[in-house]
């Protein structure tokens, strides 16, 4: 009788373990979005090759496309919009905020010219997607979000996704993150009436700062702030698109 009981317990145990393993394989392995993600990257690459003039190189940095290929964009998007996660369009994420169009994320990340040893600061965490993409490329990313629930949501998600090189804070991004300054690159996705001077100070000589200008759903222009080795600051204003206002001779 005891044997029978033990046998039954063993059987149950084995059955339970098998079930768990099978369940975990089912949850982890088949990434139903992998194909869509690859297609999205393909579309972005084609669009860039079709003539986006501001990228001197003519095409996206390979590392950037690889990073986009690794980040599960659908997890940064509310459940009811997931079917649109890999379409090349911005999506609302609640709190009056959006996740940028993947094409814009790709170009912005490329324009930052980051290196694997870089430390990057982001103002405006939002969904956390841009931080995740950067985290795939650099040593450490710091990000500050002003809207508390949004910041907490992003923090939970990024932890779940296992990112260890991201540090998040909730609060006012105007003064940057003095403790970890200077940064090799800064990206400011939060709207401000001007470029906060403290952020320019926290940019390393030779560093790049990128600011998308426009509304929540439409980026009007990309503003690239560059600090030369001597500390002189200049900006480059670019359209996110290949469009020349003048045609013919001028």
């Amino acid at each position: 009788m005891r044997f029978l009981k033990f046998g039954l317990q063993l059987l149950c145990g084995i059955f339970f373990l098998t079930f768990l393993t099978a369940a975990s394989i089912a949850a982890d392995d088949p990434d139903p979005y992998a194909k869509k993600r690859a297609a999205m990257i393909n579309v972005i690459e084609q669009d860039v090759r079709a003539g986006y003039v501001a990228l001197e190189e003519g095409e996206l940095d390979d590392e950037v496309t690889k990073a986009l290929g690794r980040v599960p964009r659908h997890k940064f998007i509310p459940q009811h919009l997931r079917q649109a996660a890999y379409q090349n369009r911005p999506l609302p994420i609640g709190h009056g905020q959006t996740i940028s169009q993947p094409y814009i994320v790709a170009i912005m990340t490329h324009l930052l010219h980051v290196d694997k040893n870089d430390r990057v600061l982001e103002i405006g965490t939002g969904s956390g997607y841009q931080v995740a993409v950067l985290a795939e490329l650099v040593k450490k990313v710091y990000s500050i979000e002003i809207i508390e629930p949004l910041g907490k949501q992003a923090e939970n998600l990024l932890q779940r996704l296992g990112y260890e090189n991201i540090e998040l804070a909730i609060g006012d991004g105007y003064y940057g993150w003095e403790e970890h300054a200077p940064f090799d690159a800064i990206i400011v996705t939060a709207a401000a009436s001007h470029i906060p001077p403290p952020l320019i100070k926290q940019l390393k000589p030779g560093g790049r700062m990128l600011i998308p200008v426009g509304s929540r759903f439409m980026v009007q222009e990309l503003l690239l702030v560059q600090k030369s080795a001597s500390g002189a600051v200049t900006t480059r204003q670019m359209l996110p698109v290949a469009f020349v206002p003048l045609t013919g001779k001028h």
Binding site: Y103, T234, T235, F243
Partner: protein
């Protein structure tokens, strides 16, 4: 017992309906954006057209129970006016997603349909009355117009005293009152029961309204700001000019300093934000007592003139929250005058935030004039050293092209000339605008300045212009005489110290123009040079945005859209190209297209349903009837809209001009309609329509040719003279314009009464199309041409008057 026409009910209902229309525009401008508000309300007004269709089809049933049908429709108007708005505002429509998200167009359609209902019910009641009492059409229509006139004036007054949502329920109650009056006018027997039902409905609406709040789009500036912890709206102030919301931010400072130099080190003192309709933020800045705290105002492009000379008397056009005043004060200007349109903003600065701003406006050397900028400039006898047009609209609205439909009499060639005339010989006019990419506003402004100078006889305008930019703002300086070498040297130092770029000064070299804020090419400089050269027209043609200067006749400064570029922009849709679309103009075009399609359906539908009805012995040609009512519908609003614009310039106040002109048009047209009734009594239709159309055409031509001369003569006089003069000018024209519609309806009443509701619907549809078309036409050919088109349409109406056709057929 024969019924008497319910004249007073019609007048009351009509006033509620017009007030509702204007209020809806306000409400949607607050919760959405102005141009979408325009589209939504235009299409909702097709409820008028639909009423014609409905009454045509169900005429027999409705006539059988006329009193009940009439009363029910009025009651339904009252109920739906509140309920449909509350439902419509809860639909999460986001215009920014319309090209991506398939649900958005459906939501938009839902909003149209909901908001069309109140207009549908009200118009049903009027169409029923017009058809049922077709022998008294002209008088009913007169009461309808006069009621509408009173309503348009009433809502302007009402919005000064109540919040928009309260005004909504007041209008609904006026609707219920109209129903109560109807029970008396139509001698309804169970009056007590009806009164009780109306009272219960009214109480219910008041209760519902009191528990509701405006649901502002989460993407508007104010909503965005409220997401930040520690922010709250501390007060709201309603007026027809806009809903002001004052926002305090307790934990994170506002730091509103657009265009701040990259080299700046300080930040603004504490500020309070003021939003107009949830957007267009302006900041009221705290007085710290330390002048150095305002140094940030020297770090923006608009500070340039203060480094070229020491102005003694400065005029700021558009005081807003006062930052331009603070900038002038920081630069030790002895006398500062400022003009602000919104009296409630002035009250905030003068009273509520007097302590906060250190009694800025109660200082001896600072004078704030309530009023409109252009009017102040025209009327003032002071010659200023410096006139500054402040940057008050927000970048978000400007960059999305939302102002494309808005007329502005501040950025026209004539406006700049008027400002230059009020400058000392060595004075400067300074205008700052947002920098948009590809460049638009600032270049059009540059072209406008060149034209203004040329018109004033300056041979070489380039010698009097300076143009600088940061990445965010561009400032144009127009001097009343040639710029000196010392001034150029001072400007170069100013821009160098702040990392601003120069786009134009006399003698500039191309390599100087793109140093700190680099573009793919020095677009601003290239454009400035091209505009000053002989190849200007070719440049305008080549450039992908419209840069032709705005004039008083075509005052659409913010219209930059060119059709030829549309395919290119659409092909760039997925590559981040959509922001290149100047949305406002396209919304207008989309509104027109939708209105025309819906109108065609609404006009043709009754013909389909009534095609099996027995034809009267004396058939009326439906085609000509349609031409007549379309012509009259289009022409009336063409003239009304063009006149509103012309009189804004004359009366110098957009709000009062609109209210006065609209009311005057409606009331005098009502009197005209009433008068036409007398003519109809003697069956002098042909005679009457000839008189009316001749009167309109003769007066119309007089106005096209002489209005500007009259305006120029009286423009500087006081309102006490200008208002009666306005009424005097509008009265005769409006009087004649009130006649064609009721004359033809009355004629139809004689020969084919069944067609009255249909004709009413045709006219309703044409009116909706007309309002949109007038704006589109004005953008491309100017307001004078719009008036001329209206006169042609009246000519066409005369040719197609029903009686004439009947005679021919016979």
């Amino acid at each position: 017992m024969t019924l008497r026409p319910p004249f007073f009910t019609i007048a009351l209902l009509s006033s509620a309906m017009l007030a509702y229309e204007i209020l809806l525009m306000r409400l949607f401008s607050i919760i959405q954006w102005h141009h979408f508000a325009y589209m939504i309300i235009s299409l909702a007004l097709l409820g008028f057209g639909a009423s014609g269709t409905f009454v045509s089809i169900f005429r027999k049933v409705l006539f059988k129970h006329f009193s009940i049908a009439f009363l029910m429709n009025i009651g339904l108007f009252a109920v739906s006016s509140v309920c449909c708005f509350l439902l419509a505002q809860s639909i999460p429509f986001n215009p920014d997603e319309i090209l991506w998200d398939k649900q958005q167009p459906l939501r938009l359609l839902g909003i149209y349909l909901l908001l069309a209902l109140p207009f549908f019910f009200a118009a049903n009641a009027i169409a029923l009355a017009l058809t049922y009492f077709h022998d008294r059409i002209a008088r009913i229509y007169a009461f309808d117009l006069i009621g509408a006139g009173i309503g348009s004036l009433g809502i302007v007054a009402l919005l000064f005293f109540t919040m928009p949502l309260q005004a909504l329920v007041i209008i609904a109650c006026i609707g219920l009152m109209a129903a109560a009056v109807a029970t008396w006018e139509l001698n309804i027997k169970a009056r007590g029961w009806v009164f009780a039902a109306l009272a219960i409905t009214g109480t219910g609406l008041i209760f519902l309204d009191a528990r509701s709040e405006l649901q502002i789009s989460p993407y508007k500036e104010l909503s965005q700001m409220l997401r930040i912890s520690g922010t709250e709206v501390v007060s709201e102030h309603s007026s027809p000019l806009g809903l002001l919301s004052v926002l305090h931010s307790h934990t994170i400072p506002l730091r509103h300093a657009p265009g701040l130099s990259l080299n700046a080190s300080g930040e603004p003192p504490a500020q309070v934000a003021v939003f107009t309709d949830g957007g267009g933020m302006t900041a009221i800045t705290h007085e710290t007592g330390k002048p150095e705290d305002y140094a940030y105002l020297d770090q923006i492009t608009s500070a340039a003139p203060f480094h070229l000379f020491q102005p003694k008397q400065v005029l700021v056009l558009g005081a807003g929250g006062g930052s331009s005043i603070l900038q002038a004060r920081y630069h030790a200007v002895p006398q500062i005058d400022a003009v602000e349109l919104n009296p409630q903003l002035i009250k905030l600065l003068r009273e509520d935030y007097a302590d906060y701003t250190g009694h800025l406006l109660n200082t001896e050397n600072i004078r704030l004039h309530p009023g409109e900028a252009r009017g102040f400039v025209t009327g003032t006898s002071t010659q200023y050293d410096l006139i500054e047009v402040a940057l008050l609209d927000s970048f978000a609205a400007s960059s999305a092209g939302l102002y494309a439909l808005n007329e502005s009499y501040l950025y026209t060639v004539e406006a700049l000339q008027a400002m230059l005339k009020k400058l000392q010989p060595d004075g400067y006019l300074v205008i700052t605008r947002w920098i948009k990419l590809p460049p638009r506003d600032t270049l059009k402004l540059f072209a406008t300045a060149v034209d203004a100078l040329k018109n004033m006889g300056v041979e070489n305008p380039g010698q009097q212009l300076l143009f600088l930019r940061s990445w965010q703002t561009g400032t144009l300086l127009i001097k009343n005489s040639a710029v000196t070498q010392e001034e150029i040297t001072a400007l170069k130092k100013f821009t160098n110290d702040r990392s601003f770029d120069l786009a134009w000064y006399p003698g500039i070299q191309p390599d100087e123009a793109n140093q700190f804020n680099q573009l793919a090419e020095p677009y601003f400089h290239q454009a400035a040079a091209a505009i000053l050269s002989d190849e200007r027209e070719a440049f305008f043609k080549r450039y992908k945005f419209s840069l032709q200067p705005a004039t008083d006749d075509r005052p659409h400064f913010f219209h930059f859209f060119k059709w030829s570029v549309l395919p290119e922009i659409l092909s760039l849709r997925d590559k981040g190209g959509l922001p290149l679309l100047e949305g406002g103009y396209l919304v207008l075009v989309a509104t027109l297209a939708q209105a025309i399609i819906a109108s065609v359906v609404l006009i043709l539908l009754p013909l389909f349903f009534t095609r099996k009805e027995k034809q009267p012995a004396n058939p009326v040609n439906k085609g000509w009837v349609m031409v007549y009512f379309i012509s009259v519908g289009l022409a009336f609003l063409f003239i009304e809209i063009a006149f509103i614009q012309k009189f804004i310039l004359f009366l110098h106040h957009p709000l009062y001009a609109v209210a006065l002109v609209l009311t005057a048009f409606l009331i005098f047209a009502g009197l005209g309609s009433s008068f036409s009734w007398r003519l109809v009594q003697g069956d002098y239709y042909q005679h009457a329509i000839t008189i009316a159309v001749t009167g309109i055409i003769v007066l119309g031509f007089l106005y096209i040719f002489f209005m500007e001369t009259v305006f120029a003569h009286f423009i500087s006089l006081s309102m006490a003279i200008k208002i009666p003069l306005t009424l005097l000018m509008i009265a005769p024209l409006a009087f004649f314009m009130g006649m064609p519609f009721p004359l033809a309806l009355a004629k139809l009443g004689d020969i084919a009464p069944n067609m009255i509701p249909w004709a009413w619907g045709v006219n309703g549809c044409a009116s909706v199309v007309s309002a949109v078309l007038a704006t589109l036409l004005a953008i491309s050919i100017g307001f004078n041409a719009v008036i001329f088109s209206a006169l042609v349409l009246y000519g066409l109406a005369w040719l197609s008057f029903p009686e004439k056709r009947i005679a021919n057929i016979q």
